[in-house]
């Protein structure tokens, strides 16, 4: 068990290095000269060749790529991602709070998604083919086909404008969580509940259910076994939901003016603020790799068979 965790953890180290390198060279793919971008962003009226040269030196662009990468990587480990081209502030001073805000939104949503999809998934699996199962699946089908911004707009229209119950933007009160979390939960619960349902259903046909019943075990015990086995699949899926939702709250954040990563990244893209984009990608890609590793470990812990094969 310990060995598996160690081995699995070790694999993610080179992966993190490659990911960080790719993130770094993303910048060089840009068709624009970074020095020019900086000058543009700072609103310099006349860009001369000398000024460009000076800025390049100041940015350290004359040094070889690998040296620049290594320096950048080391400073990233200290959470120093450079300064924003536009405002000149350190990137982390903008990104850090935004990350925290998005994390809060994500965690609340993930909890809501887990509760809702397990409850609905189990319910539908136990009532497979009945009216309840069919109608829940039908509703979720339509809801997953609905763009989240449309859903968000409709909710705002109804709950904030018509009923004047909930705030439409910001994150000042607990109430301001309700609408964004609802939108995220509805968009994702449809998918995750289907995963829970189908893994429940495939467990229902397993031999151990048949044998358990043949031994006269009460239905309560059988259901517990089915749940335990089918939720094993769901555990890793739910773990992976965290970074995925962390990375795709963009639309929801923009609609509800949530001061998080999504709002920050879209603004940075529109103003071509590369250091922020770079740091944003790096942080999310790194958390993706880390959570992936972590969820494999959790999976090994709950699934004894995997533990030994690994």
């Amino acid at each position: 068990m310990g060995r598996y965790i160690f081995k699995r953890g070790l694999i993610s180290v080179p992966l993190l290095l490659v990911v960080s390198f790719l993130t770094f060279i993303l910048n060089s793919l840009s068709p624009m000269d970074p020095a020019e971008v900086v000058l543009h962003a700072q609103g310099v009226p006349r860009i001369t060749d000398e000024l460009l040269e000076e800025t390049r030196l100041a940015l350290g662009l004359d040094r070889p790529l690998l040296v620049r990468y290594w320096n950048w990587f080391l400073s990233c480990l200290r959470l120093d991602f450079g300064d924003s081209y536009v405002t000149g502030k350190p990137v982390w001073s903008l990104l850090g709070p935004a990350f925290l805000n998005t994390l809060k939104l994500t965690m609340v949503s993930v909890v809501a998604i887990i509760i809702l999809s397990i409850a609905l998934g189990v319910l539908c699996a136990l009532r497979e083919g009945k009216l309840l199962d069919k109608s829940i699946r039908g509703i979720s089908f339509v809801l997953t086909a609905m763009p989240s911004y449309l859903l968000a707009s409709l909710l705002v229209l109804y709950f904030s404008v018509k009923l004047d119950l909930l705030p439409t933007n910001g994150m000042d009160t607990i109430g301001s969580y309700i609408l964004p979390v609802t939108v995220i939960t509805i968009s994702y619960a449809g998918i995750y509940f289907r995963i829970v349902r189908s893994s429940m259903l495939s467990s229902l046909n397993e031999d151990y259910v048949l044998y358990g019943r043949a031994c006269g075990l009460p239905e309560r015990k059988i259901t517990r076994r089915i749940l335990r086995n089918s939720l094993q699949v769901a555990v890793s899926v739910f773990c992976m939901a965290i970074p995925i939702i962390l990375g795709s709250t963009v639309v929801v954040e923009n609609i509800f003016a949530w001061p998080g990563l999504g709002t920050l990244s879209v603004n940075s893209i529109l103003s071509r603020d590369f250091p922020i984009i770079q740091a944003y990608v790096l942080i999310l890609a790194a958390s993706f790799v880390i959570v992936n590793t972590f969820s494999d470990m959790v999976n090994a812990w709950v699934n004894p068979k995997l533990r030994e094969d690994g």
Partner: protein, 297 residues
Amino acid sequence: MRRFHYFLKDKLAALSLAIISITVIAGIFAPWIAPNDPEEVHMELRFASASWEYLLGNDHLGRCILSRLIYGIRPSVLWVLVALVASVGIGAVIGFIAGYFKGRIDAFLMRICDVMLSFPGYVMTLAIIGILGVGLENILLAFVLMKWAWFARIIRTSVMAYAESDYVKFSKVLGMGSLRIMRKHILPVSLPDIAVTSSSAYSSMVLQLSGFSFLGLGIQAPHAEWGMMLNEAREVMFSRPEMMLAPGITTILFVTAVNFFTDSLQVALDPKLGISGKKRQGRPDSVAGRIQRNEVA
């Protein structure tokens, strides 16, 4: 062919196929089908309600909503389809090579896929737009760059399963060339897997594109696109909420049709399902791979 027949017997599936085909055809022949010029401004007709000339009414600049919807099919549906075909194509070539030749080539290609899959797709799409600039073509490019690895993974798994089958071994013994074996024996049987996977990825790509357009990162005004039409409607959401109806319902209808189509395709193409009523067992993919398609807009 018998499976296809089985598929058509399913009424819901036939209906969704009809919706998809009509949309695609309407998009291709937009100039002939659309009643008006989608970009022609009539300030005197702002927010006009439906009339015989403008069947769905007019938007905030007096443009014909129906014509904009029909022209909007091109970026929202057709160009996404092109991006899908491109990434499935790349994924298929790599998946076939990895799954058929195995060994070192396979290990090497799969490590590349691992790296690609360890980037969250949504974030990377944003990053690519950020680096290359705002615009439809950059989003599509980002789709191709981010999705091929996931297709390669799935196709590899399916090719591997079939490459072990007896008739492929037999063909190898007979001295049939690798390319010929792939084309004659492996491609036809792995096609169902490819079809189901790409169809399920398609609906999430349509939704994502419309989300990016909604944020103003996609196609630029005055061109029509469903997500952008919704964004324009949102600005007048409080005074004219009905403006969201047409593009909203169109998007939901199309994506639902694709989802139903995927489900029915899966049932029709899977010999294990349908007849015996057994549930399909999940493929042994990595968690990251399995989850990639779960991103929605």
